[in-house]
Symmetry: C2
Subunit: 435 residues, 2 copies
Amino acid sequence: MTQATQSPTKVDSKASFTGLKCKECGTEYEATAIHVCELCFGPLEVSYDYSAIARRVTRATIEAGPKSIWRYRDFLPVATDNPIDVGTGMTPLLQANRLARRLGLKKLYIKNDAVNMPTLSFKDRVVSVALTRAKELGFTTVSCASTGNLANSTAAIAAHAGLDCCVFIPSDLEAGKVLGTLIYGPTVMSVQGNYDQVNRLCCEVANTYGWGFVNINLRPYYSEGSKTLGYEVVEQLGWELPDHIVAPLASGSLFTKIHKGFQEFIKVGLIEDKHVRFSGAQAEGCSPIAKAFQEGRDFITPVKPNTIAKSLAIGNPADAVYALEIARKTGGNIESVNDAEIIEAIKLLAETEGIFTETAGGTTIAVLKKLVEAGKIDPEETTVAYITGNGLKTQEAVQEYAGQPLTIEAKLDSFERALERSRTLERLDWQQVSV
Amino acid sequence: MTQATQSPTKVDSKASFTGLKCKECGTEYEATAIHVCELCFGPLEVSYDYSAIARRVTRATIEAGPKSIWRYRDFLPVATDNPIDVGTGMTPLLQANRLARRLGLKKLYIKNDAVNMPTLSFKDRVVSVALTRAKELGFTTVSCASTGNLANSTAAIAAHAGLDCCVFIPSDLEAGKVLGTLIYGPTVMSVQGNYDQVNRLCCEVANTYGWGFVNINLRPYYSEGSKTLGYEVVEQLGWELPDHIVAPLASGSLFTKIHKGFQEFIKVGLIEDKHVRFSGAQAEGCSPIAKAFQEGRDFITPVKPNTIAKSLAIGNPADAVYALEIARKTGGNIESVNDAEIIEAIKLLAETEGIFTETAGGTTIAVLKKLVEAGKIDPEETTVAYITGNGLKTQEAVQEYAGQPLTIEAKLDSFERALERSRTLERLDWQQVSV
């Protein structure tokens, strides 16, 4: 791994992004590898020339684009015509009729990033953007602080792009997430501490080494990748906004970027304006944003995470303030659910829709259920629930709750006895339920 | 689960398939749930009215279709306009430049079904077709004999479609494949025996119960789904055939159906004819087809499988004869590799292309490497290697070979010491290699 040159490259004339801007005080910066305002310490965000985009982009130009997030290239902060495209994005928006019936909804859709490419989580979106920009900025080593999915994605896409890679994870991660990083051959630092401690260490490393940390010094570019989860849902609904979305909250970034994606499509005239309610999902064992929402605060109190939803276990979420603001101003909610509810929801989604999600997706579905039961989602609303990762990565969480196969000999009578037993058990189950 | 009605429904007038036909003696049958010729015991295959297809289908009609296998509906044996579509197919065809360079090839592509939807293997293709047809034939319970991936897929898609499901697997399967079936809530029969014993038991069950076994009584429909792996590669190469394909061999069905897919596209005038070489990959611990190929036999001798490539562990493969014929007449090869080579190839693909495949995919890449080294693939040939399943399902196979993370404290100096150690190790590695 070599030190990178952080050359503040001129933004290409074909690119629609114009630089960085502080979300708090509005100070403008060149599009380099910085993420915090030097004046007020506010987060930096990418600016675009929306009138240029509006002149260039139509529904037809998007539809004629690649079957990946790069069909929305004009809305993403890269200058190149050859971004890193490994098929990321354009995951199915599945009409979930069987789950909808179970919950009492009429029009429910699942945006299924459990099958996003290449590493089966929404993080492939943000990493595809971040590493494309990292190459433009001259980085040769990329890195991240991760709760698991981000490490998988950074390692895989760096391997494909031929970039050196060093990732940082908390030492208590699920086995599938560790192996699903190691296999791509990066350096993996397993940090004895929780994600917030990993993140603090990485901030120090980012200041010392010339590496491109996708979610630190490249964060303004990286986080823009999540907007594609907004764009795709709109396009897949036939260029219409939904009425209500439910998404998980870790740092809060995903939530705010889906909102930004919707707003941008309205701004450039691709779709009609419409009120969309934004609801967020957290696990009880790490719910600083849900707590602040329920207590009417506009700031969070950091917590020490303790939940099976490890990919959501950020105790001091960077974008909490903005997530709270969006949920409130759109008339949405932020709720939390416990580990048992998360496991039940993973099974519910699998049994009704054939989608096996990780604990973060279980959190989203459990909160969806809770909000419907509390009357906080109207059955008539067109609702989209965002499933952000795959269940094969967090097998430990459901292993003992998924039941066991029936072991039989390779003989017809052995099969028939087992089938009879299982049917008797089903009947008993049913009788217990109906008593 | 209820007994199914096997009504021999008339084929819909919009459908392009006309019935079933024995591959050996040519006897014709109605399109019901049968798979073996009553006269000669040959396998039955679906027949189509190709002139009707040629009149109706163009590149443009296909390109305007859904982003799934159902864009090729006219070539698939279903009558409905509403097939089960959970986004299966249209997986990336990735130009694998880094792997190509390592192997000494010029134009190598990976067809990446490790990210196929919904259950991350090519089996989602065949199951989407089989269950759509099962519903048309009136089945309410579906089943399969599986080495793992098929069980995942049948259980998931049955859950989505609201069909009852009972699957049969050998009792020694990988944990991820067992959990990745159980989670969808089917009845799972874990049979004490190998796949060939499971399959024999299922043939008995299929004769006794009125269930739709996707790979037994529904096999003629099911296997047609694999043709889409041929169609997609042609479309993704810009409506051109490759020069050489390498695919894994379990039953041999996938291999023969890719060939059929290419031939059909030529027959209806969608593409120019061109000679394509077909090479097949097996694991040494279960290589009856590779052995027959090398010994010049046109029949196989069944074996007892003993390999980490469990999804390829079929000792008595049903379509071996046809696979041998295709490899020979196209000037391809059938090779086998040992377990160590399979593991090395899984790592090679991950490190060069960011794709984490299961043992079957490792087998394919290891055979690809072996064929290149033996001069049996020309560096100038446009070569496509088929990756058929995801590495998160067979974690046991690579767990101890993927290395370990470096455990550190959440402190900069702890990180720096670990980084220095890892760099020293890399240098030592390098010195050992270069000595």
